[in-house]
Symmetry: C2
């Protein structure tokens, strides 16, 4: 069984738990004592020199970065619907994986890291970036049901967790009705599991 | 022929030009007047609502985000060697695509945006992040010839441009001999084309 080094309150870890749940892949959850810095010390720092979680182990394969792990899980246990391999569809999914890694991480995720976990970062900038990416998502989701294609893909799984809890960083979704409707569509997927703050 | 909306001084645009050159894919280069904000206005803002370049057009397909474009070009014109589709190899390449989107963008790229283009951002933080990711790359490249696999992949193409010009952000590569050797290996690839600052 694959193993996930996990923090329940991490949206990045939730992405992995969520996709595994949706695909029916059993995973051993290895809780990490994040506040004590367990991920910054051996043995975890040897598994991921970047000093971050999630870390995903499957046999001989050890992976860092939540988006890269989604790609692995989708390729190994999903089918073409979650991550298609034709050039245009894969690139369209990838556009939103990179938005999760960049704009969403530096927006709603950073604002929440400040408010909920006391990270010293530029809160005003993080909230500006949050509203910027939420406005772009609103524009997209006012026209389509799902972010990348005409069905749910790992693009939705990568982007949903921090957007759904952006209120924890002082960024309510009130001005973004299409985003809120999309969050509800993700929550309604068969076998969906929430993270704290999403209920 | 596909079209690239391009800025010669952009490392993100260079990634796309470089991969197309390496694969022998002819591309129409459409220069963008970046300083005049052409990418923030119609018609480019309609092609990419994120207001950024590169933008890549190929028939009916329009793509934003340099890393997503690399995935498209590799899947369409490359072979399995540049972006393999087996789960572990694809995820290993993806780990470094996300490092290009995150750690390299917020490190050497941001430091250069400050120093060369006058962007108002936290230079000290950008340089710290630059040294952090360069140290991680040094550790990796002290043991392997290429970032993700035992051969060049789009991981190397995504990460090389801003690393090779990090001195333009006040971050010289002097302390990173393995990174410097890797930059030279990328430059030695058949059909390599440089960007300004890399010569």
């Amino acid at each position: 069984m694959p193993r996930l080094y996990d923090l329940e309150l991490s949206g990045n870890c939730h992405k992995v738990r969520l996709l595994c749940a949706l695909l029916g892949v059993p995973v051993e959850i290895a809780p990490v004592d994040f506040m004590a810095g367990e991920h910054k010390r051996s043995p975890l720092i040897d598994k991921n020199p970047f000093g971050e979680i999630p870390i995903f182990e499957d046999g001989e394969v050890t992976l860092r970065d939540s988006q890269a792990i989604l790609i692995y899980v989708a390729r190994k246990w999903g089918d073409e619907s979650w991550l298609p391999t034709d050039p245009a569809s894969m690139a369209k999914v990838a556009e939103w994986l990179f938005a999760a890694e960049n704009e969403i991480a530096r927006g709603p995720n950073d604002a929440r890291l400040h408010d909920k976990f006391g990270y010293a970062l530029d809160l005003k900038l993080a909230r500006e970036k949050a509203h910027c990416i939420l406005s772009l998502m609103e524009m997209r989701l006012a026209k389509t049901q799902w972010l990348a294609l005409d069905r749910p893909t790992i693009a939705d799984i990568a982007c949903m967790p921090y957007v759904a809890i952006s209120h924890e960083g002082g960024v309510p979704l009130t001005p973004y009705p299409a985003v809120r409707a999309w969050v509800e569509r993700v929550k309604a997927l068969p076998r969906f599991i929430p993270m704290p703050g999403q209920e």
